[in-house]
Structures are given as structure tokens and as C-alpha cells.
């Protein structure tokens, strides 16, 4: 093995780039929404357009979100919250959409939720997931959360109960977290 200068620079760079976060890093769950408009149209067929909103999350707000949802907000989601305001032809708000990322068994599960003006769930779509068990993809499962609102967070649970799996639990946790975030940051 020939230790070349480029190889040394590669090792040094690895340590430099990693710094403390390399030693104590957690997996970072950042939602990458691949094509918002297609899913937005399915959730809000009457929408004419949408507006992107990005809000900072203070430590006090983060604590309130985690308390209300009963779940820990994942790394990469703890300091900023992004959602979309859905608008009609007059520019009035008709609802909201948000991209949710939650940890599944085989990696991140990404899904989209739609909320009406009263912050009740109007629909949910799975955007991307790689899981062995597919109950969380079933339309009946996702439809079961329709009508749940920011006032129902505590009652949202896995309908499969003990028979659920990483996928169904991830959807439930993600939905509770997202509704709690809307309650703390948007609906106040």
C-alpha cells in the first residue's frame, strides 16, 4: 500500500470535516421533498398556488412540541420548521401541507400530510419509504387519520396496537409530532 499525499489529505480531511459531530453524531433526518406540487394537488385539488413558510423553533417551543406529541423530535428537525400554505384563486388560505420524516426500520419514512384551516387532517400520502412490512402504506390505514386535529394529538395511536410495526409506529409518531408543531408554532 502506497501512502500518497492525496491519501493522507483524505484521512486528515475526514477528521477535520467530522470534528466533534463525527464522534457524537446521530443520524440526521432531514426531509427532502422530491416534488411538492404533485402531492399538493392531490391533497388540495382546489388550490391555485402555495406559499413556503420556514419558522425557527426555540428551545422552549421544542420542549412544548415534544411534550404535546409524546415523542422526541429527530435531529435535523429541531431548530427549523417548514410547511406550505395552500391558497385559493383569491389568495386566501384553504389549508396547509407539510412533509414529515420519521425513522422507520430500514431508514427514513417520508410522508406528506394535508391540514384544513382548522388544522384537521385532510389526507396523507407516503412519499418515500423502504420497509419490509407495508401496512403503513395501506389506504385504509392512512385514511383512518382523516379528521384528526391538533386537539386530538393525545388520542392518535397505532390502530394495529401491538400488531403494528416500525412503519405504522413511525407514521403515528410523525403525525403526532407534526400536529404538535402546528399547534405550537402556527395555530397559536
Amino acid at each position: 500500500m502506497r501512502i500518497t499525499a492525496p491519501l493522507c489529505s483524505c484521512i486528515a480531511s475526514l477528521l477535520f470535516l467530522g470534528n466533534t459531530s463525527f464522534l457524537s453524531a446521530q443520524e440526521v433526518y432531514v426531509c427532502v421533498w422530491r416534488n411538492p406540487e404533485r402531492t399538493m394537488t392531490r391533497l388540495f385539488p382546489a388550490a391555485r398556488d402555495y406559499r413556503t413558510v420556514s419558522l425557527p423553533i426555540t428551545s422552549a417551543q421544542l420542549a412544548a412540541i415534544e411534550s404535546a406529541s409524546g415523542t422526541t423530535v429527530l435531529p435535523g428537525q429541531r431548530t427549523q420548521f417548514q410547511y406550505f400554505v395552500m391558497l385559493d384563486s383569491a389568495g386566501a388560505t384553504i389549508g396547509y401541507t407539510a412533509a414529515v420524516t420519521q425513522k422507520g426500520e430500514y431508514g427514513a419514512i417520508e410522508f406528506i400530510i394535508g391540514l384544513d384551516r382548522g388544522f384537521s387532517v385532510t389526507g396523507m400520502y407516503i412519499q418515500r419509504a423502504r420497509e419490509r412490512h407495508n401496512q403503513f402504506r395501506e389506504e385504509a390505514f392512512l385514511r383512518g387519520f382523516a379528521g384528526k386535529s391538533i386537539r386530538d394529538i393525545a388520542s392518535i395511536s397505532d390502530p394495529y396496537g401491538a400488531g403494528g410495526n416500525h412503519g405504522t409506529r413511525a407514521i403515528v409518531q410523525g403525525l403526532r409530532k407534526e400536529l404538535a408543531t402546528f399547534a405550537v408554532l402556527v395555530a397559536r
Binding site: L7, V30, N35, R38, S54, Q80, G91, Y106, I126
Partner: protein
Amino acid sequence: MKTVRLLCSLCAILAPGALSGALFANWEEDLRGTYSSRDFSGEISSIGGSLRQVFADAGGDRFIMVLQAEAVHNLESVMLHQLYATLKGPMGKWNLSAGRVPLPWGLLTAWSPERKPFGSPYPAISVSASDSGLLFNGTIDTFEYGISLTQGYGMGAIHDFPGPGLVTVRAGLVPEDDLGLSAGLSASWGTTPGQTNAHMPGEAMPEKRLVLALDMTLVLPQGTLRFEGGARYSGHTWSASLFTALEYALASWLTLEMAGHAWASAHEQVKGRVFAGFAVPVFGATLRGGYEYEKIAHADHRAVVQLHRQLAFSW
């Protein structure tokens, strides 16, 4: 009436205090070590990222500015991939972009091989990932489209205006974002720089050609299979290219990655390369490793190890 509304939106955006919006940033680090019969070395393959600033008026998101750049090969050179502004239509049904824009081509619309440790298929069919000019694209329900009119210099130096010219079009169908099959047809006519590998900057002989391609993406419960088949006509000669890539989660911590690429011209032997490897999440990054076997005139089979980290921020 729609034109008046559009002009009013533009005036509203430019009016002081009328803008709202959000800024998104993405940062990537790509370190690689390579072992082959000719070399054993490591390098900072790429460090870079992108910025995306969204401006909104009362009617919604209206104006978007994007910058994507990276420093490659131990920071020897800086590549400007994208720098453009977009006027966004309602619900993304149409978007008009100007600057160095991403070309609407095949699998590149939603995926890129640049961060994978295997060879890209695009140099074989002279397709650039981006070029300077205009892009008109959008999404209407399950249908997506893109038409670009660009200079033909790719990411290289711009020698002249308007340039030799390049037209690229793509039409795609995406029935579902999750499971299922999506497909697209692409066509490109005009000039591209001969060297279209994003990580090998420098001057190259321009090439005038016609390229056609079919791309398909099959999303499975635990993986994704991608395919792109293309044909290129240049210098009175046809050549063909077939590319496929598979990602499959074998376990919660282990993903299998495989890729194969075969290409040939009318009077030449078939050339190809095959890659098999793995991806493992480690400390907020992804560790990839694998072996690529080449069947070309001066084959250089290689083992590759890559550490890739991606961070995203928003304000």
C-alpha cells in the same frame, strides 16, 4: 387578464417590503479512496452544496433563485453546476428558468450518479447535467415535462454568444411517488462539450449529435431499480447505451448497490462496466464500498470506498 396578473405579481415582488420567502441550503462532502492496478489513493472527491432562495408574493411562491457549486479533486477546481432564476407558475404547472439550468434529461430529472461510487453513463451519450440558457418545465397531475434551449457549452467555459445551441426535451409519467413505475422519454439535439463528466473539467472537442433515451424508475418496497437506454447519432454513426442501477435494503443497516452500463458504436465492440457494493449509515454519513469491473480497451478495474455526508438547513 392572466398577463396583467403576472405583471402585477412581478411588480409586487419588486416593491419594498412586499417579499416573503425562505432560504434553503444543502451541504455535501464526498471523500473517496480508490484501489486499482494503476493507483491506490484517496481524495476529497467533492465538497460543495446548494442554496435555494424562495420569494413569495400574496399569491404564493413566485420567484426562486438557485445556486449549486462544488470544489472537486482535492479542491483543485470549482465547478458551477447551476445558477439560475425561476419564475414559478401556479402549483408548478409551468416554470420559466434562466441561467445555468439543469437539463430535462432521463434519470437526471430526479436522480444523479455523481454521488455514487460507480461510473456515470452520461459521457457515453454526450449528455450534460446542466447548461446555460432557458428552461421551461412543470408538473400537471401525473405528467411532467421539460424543454430547454441552451448554449451547448455545458459546465465549461462560454466562448461565444449565443453559442452552438442545444435543445433538450423530456416528457414523463409519474403515477405514484411511492411504489410503482414511472417513465420518461427524452430527446436532445445540438452541441455538447465532448467531456461531459462533471468531475473532469477542462476543454474538450464539441460534438454535434442527436440523442434519444427512455428512462424508467421502479420503486419497490425495499429498493429502487433505475434504467436508462439511449441512442446517439453523431458523425454519421449510431451508438447505443444501456444503464441500470439498483439500490436494495438487505437489512435495516445495509443497502446493496449495483450498477451496470454497456455501450457500443456501430463498428466497435461492446464496452461495459459492472459495479457491486454496499452502503452503510455511519455517524450521520453514508459509507459506501464496492468493486467496479470494466470491459474496455484500457480497463482499470477498481475497488472504491466512499464517505458521503449531506446536511440541509433552512431559514
